[in-house]
Amino acid sequence: MTAIAPGTVPKASPRGGAARARMLRGLLPALSLALVLMGIAWLNPRAISYFGFNLMLNLAIPIALATIAQMFVIAGNELDLSIGTFVGFVGCVTATWLRDAPLLGIVVLLGSIGVYALLGALIHLRNLPSIVVTLGMSFVWQGLAILVLPKPGGKAPDWLLSIMSFKPPYIPFPILAALLIAAVVHFGLMRTSYGVILRGSGGNAAALRRAGWSLLRTKVVLFALTGLFGVLSGMALIGITTSADANIGNGYTLLSIAGVILGGGEFVGGRVSPIGAVLGALTLALAASPLLTFMHIPPDWQVAANGAILIIVLAARVLISRKER
């Protein structure tokens, strides 16, 4: 460093500033999570414990999985407004058929992933707006969920219950699961060559097509992955709640979009981050109720707090992005 001639220093420093801003931007999801955790620790120090995290992050696993699901479609410049009701549908199938007739349950869940893949093909071939198609599909999934389970009830399969109530030593299970999800998806999407192609389909579709890659296939793969993680999210949710309800996942559509954006994802350009998305989901899961309960904020305002957190994080990102230029 000291060997650099004095003349180059002024040139290097703005570039260094931009790099620092980019790093700061990458750290933003982790910083917001740390901020929420510090808030909780300050308001209720006893919550920061093995038992406390198990309780507070109870629902973090299904939210993180749904956020990852949403992240795949966003990576391809699409949006899935049906993921919430899909999670609800999967939950209903898990609590009924997967327990009583495992083979039928598995076929139905695999079939629903197939439906997602077909939707991807349909959206690509007919050049349809994904917002409208998935909005229509949200009715389909909700209708099917009500047909499968007209009244709240059912029971999760025992193997699923025992997985979800797993208590590893020292590290609470939700944190371990979040680490695992983030690591697996990060490797698959960010470190493999086909992962680059998948993100490229959102970044520059025309260039990929000219390079000979099938855009139909990338879209089908992205939607199938969304379906797969939607199924995992629904199953994890039922493993925690033990019984299902057709409306159980409705809030997940908005939570998952918010999680992806909080985690540094962008709607266009294939810019997404699996690790960020999981951190974003954890932040929302923590901020949604534990933090607000400790702050004595009435339940009426908890939805508003989600909106406010989103706005604050986005405002911080704009401030950082200005430095990046």
């Binding site: 599909m137 009715f139 209708g143 908005l254 939805v303 405002a315």
Partner: protein
């Protein structure tokens, strides 16, 4: 023949054909009974979808990514504000309507402020705003039995020769919206921005002001819709606007407006609004269960979108 062909080439004709087919299917099922009453009911319910649909249409026409997801929350809050200001008294009807209009317009303006100041996609801006509006509504409307003044409830349910007066007024409003879109500088600017925002800017269109006006207009329409809904259903509640998220976007797309922006269609919003309401009436007449009704509604929307097809990619 030639005139028939030009008619068939209009993008909005299919939504009306769809509405007609659904209506015929229903009266074939009932053996011709209740066909007229069905049209009256469809008109009075379609009004609410058409009003927000027109607002959503202007926003969507601004180009890819422009959509107002805060409409349901906006409708909910405005309905509560209108009923509270009216306070059950006929003398306050106009003031209440103005309050709902102002409330909606303020929400629209805040939406654009978030989009502009934070430079975030409109979807996320309106989504975050809707979270906050929802909370305001829940805490503002809590524990209140909000009923409309009798005069206002009668007005929103008023019919002349089987045609709801509200529907007639809405037709006048949509004609105005169509004129504004095709013949006024404002509407032409919205279309220009949707076709190419940079070219519009270079051509001297004040992009920021037009987008601000459009979001405010959409918010204001949501606000007035909330007040009218509360009058029609004789009461305001938090969930009153929930179904209008899907409905407002669906009528725009089914009606032949391009989701890619730059191409709008006002008559199609009416056709699609009637189609959606008649579809629900048909499924109810057939006596299907709630699950099947949701399933079929979803499948038909996806089917119609697929049949209508998207824009051929230009680039």
């Amino acid at each position: 023949m030639a005139s028939l062909r030009t008619l068939l080439e209009k993008p909005w004709i299919w939504s009306f054909v769809g509405a007609l087919v659904v209506w015929l299917a229903t009266i074939a099922f009932t053996g011709g009974y209740g066909g007229g009453g069905m049209v009256t009911a469809a008109l009075s319910l379609a009004v609410f979808t058409v009003i927000v649909g027109v607002g959503q249409m202007f926003v969507i026409t601004l180009g890819p990514g422009n959509v107002d997801l805060s409409l349901p929350a906006n409708i909910g809050l405005a309905s509560a504000v209108a009923m509270k200001v009216m306070g059950g008294s006929d003398a306050m009807i106009v003031v209440g309507l103005l309050a709902a209009l102002a409330c909606g317009a303020a929400i629209g303006a805040i939406n654009y402020l978030l989009i502009w100041a934070l430079r975030i996609p409109p979807i996320i801006a309106t989504l975050s705003a809707s979270f906050i509006i929802q909370s305001v509504d829940i805490s503002y409307g809590r524990g209140l039995q909000i009923k409309p003044p009798p005069g206002f409830a009668d007005f929103t349910n008023w019919q002349v020769l089987g045609i709801p007066v509200l529907a007639m007024l809405t037709v006048v409003f949509t004609v105005g919206a169509a004129l504004a879109l095709q013949r006024m500088i404002y509407g032409r600017s919205v279309l220009a921005i949707g076709q190419n925002i940079r070219a519009a800017w270079l051509a001297g269109v004040n992009v920021g002001r037009i987008r601000f006006l459009t979001y405010t207009l959409c918010g204001a329409l949501g606000g007035i819709d909330g007040a009218l809904l509360a009058g029609y259903f004789r009461g305001a509640n938090v969930d009153i606007g929930n179904e209008y998220l899907l409905a407002s976007i669906a009528v725009v797309v089914i009606g032949g407006t391009s989701v890619a922006g730059g191409k709008a269609n006002v008559p199609g919003v009416w056709g699609a609004g009637l189609f959606l309401v008649l579809l629900l009436t048909m499924l109810n007449t057939f006596g299907v269960s709630a699950g099947v009704r949701l399933l079929l509604t979803g499948l038909i929307i996806v089917g119609v979108i697929t049949a209508a097809g998207g824009e051929k990619a230009v680039r």
